[in-house]
Amino acid sequence: MAELHIDGLRLETLRAGRITPLVSGIDLRLRQGCVTALVGSSGSGKSLSCLALQGLTPPGVRCTAGRVALIDGDTRRVPARGQDIATVMQNPRSAFNPVMTMRAHAQETYRGSHSHFEDELRRFATEVGLDVPRDLDLYPFQMSGGMLQRMMIALALMSGARFLIADEPTTDLDLIVQARILDLLVEEVRLRSLGVLFVTHDMGVVARVADEVAVMEHGHIVERGTVERIFHAPAHPATQALINAHLSLYPEHILT
């Protein structure tokens, strides 16, 4: 079973003329078949870390340290974006080119042999719940947010990547669509032994999908543990604040 190791990631930016650290030396371990949730309030550096570990940083942000390694048995190498790691992003609508159909998007990133393309595309599109072949010829504006998110997951699966970075993939979707997408993700993790880094601010999502949790605050990971331990015995004040805020919405749990 392969693992993805991220060590000592540091990001900084220039703010009002002074160098400001955004992420200060975080370490993460992703295992196949395991969903690790990266939680924290906005501004904690979660999304930036996701971008940085794939080698992408927004303009104005500089990565000053960090090592990413894919460890498979005895070998150790640099993971390739799109082959070893795939991404599912927050706003599916902005992730698609408005003048390309779904099929065209799949063709753009497909690396396998030409003759297998159509079969694989149909297989994955059906698996994520799209209407095949009708939906494959649609343009993004003809599809809802939920459908686009499903397509993004299908593209991620088609790449054959063993690791998935999901950056708040359900935040913009309504409750029912969100539940279905999360079910789909959990199922795919189980079927294909995917290793997932799931960034979110919603502890309800964490309770639904995560096995392990890492809590970020102001660019540091302040606590990590299994999902049960984090929920039942949060140690760091930041974690406690998140758990308490989350539980306040579930009146039946206040007395626990």
Partner: protein, 261 residues
């Protein structure tokens, strides 16, 4: 006392193009709703149910194709001139995307001042005082009032939008998914702020949302909108029975991790 009522409201959209033979798209059909003074009604529905359209109709931004919307008994469509102004004074809104809901060229002070300029007779000094008062109400330092929206976070901007909505001392504020773009901790903080303001000022709220958890936390009564009609309406102490409501309730994320994985 009934503040606002919708009677058999219908709304369809048709395109403006000449020679367009497609039938108009019906978004709302036969919606009946009432909001009483000082109460908090949640309008629950999944995306595509027509909630935002109903919000815009209630705000008087669009006209229904059939049915009537009444404010304090009088039809909103008949308002003109001073009556329209007093309706606007009484019904305000906070929108979902705080960054999009403010003019990026206006300072915070000017944003909050806009309803004061158009809907009240206050002079400049009085307006300035009111702006300071409003910013303090939403826990924003009045010294920040010269800042531009680009210099503030989404959460802070949403509080500015709340201050703007409170400016004319409205009777009803429509919250159109007003907290959906904030992270969970901020969502709860914002709703708590609104509850506190409601107790202090007696404002009624129409809380449009798709998140059942927030409804339980914030509202007195809930109406469920599904495919353009109200399918269920109940006080929070009651239970939701309609299949559309149950679908929403079941989709709620769990409180605790389950061992099933």
């Amino acid at each position: 006392m009934t503040l606002l009522s919708c009677e058999h409201v219908e709304r369809s959209y048709r395109s403006d193009r000449f020679f367009d033979s497609r039938p108009p798209k019906r978004v709302l059909s036969g919606v009946d709703l009432t909001i009483d003074e000082g109460e908090c009604l949640a309008l629950l529905g999944e995306s595509g149910s027509g909630k935002s359209t109903l919000g815009r109709l209630i705000l008087g931004l669009e006209r229904p194709n059939a049915g009537t919307i009444r404010f304090r008994g009088k039809p909103v469509a008949s308002f003109a001139g001073p009556e329209r102004k007093s309706f606007r004074r009484a019904v305000q809104a906070v929108f979902q995307d705080s960054i999009g809901a403010v003019d990026p060229r206006f300072s915070i002070a000017r944003i909050v001042e806009e309803p004061l300029r158009h809907l009240t007779e206050l002079d400049e000094t009085a307006r300035r005082q009111r702006i300071v008062e409003l910013l303090k109400m939403v826990s924003i330092d009045p010294d920040e009032m010269t800042k531009l929206p680009g210099q503030m976070s989404g959460g802070q901007l949403q509080r500015v939008c709340i201050a703007r909505a409170l400016a004319s001392n409205p009777d009803l504020i429509v919250l159109d998914e007003a907290v959906s773009n904030l992270d969970l901790t901020l969502q709860i903080q914002t709703l708590d702020l609104l509850t506190e303001l409601r107790l202090r000022l007696g404002t009624a709220f129409l809380f449009i949302t798709h998140d059942v958890r927030l409804v339980r936390h914030f509202a007195d009564r809930v109406a469920v909108l599904h495919k353009g009609s109200i399918v269920e309406e109940t006080a929070l102490t009651g239970r939701l029975c309609h299949p559309a409501s149950l679908a929403l309730a079941q989709a709620v994320l769990p409180a605790m991790p389950s061992k099933a994985q």
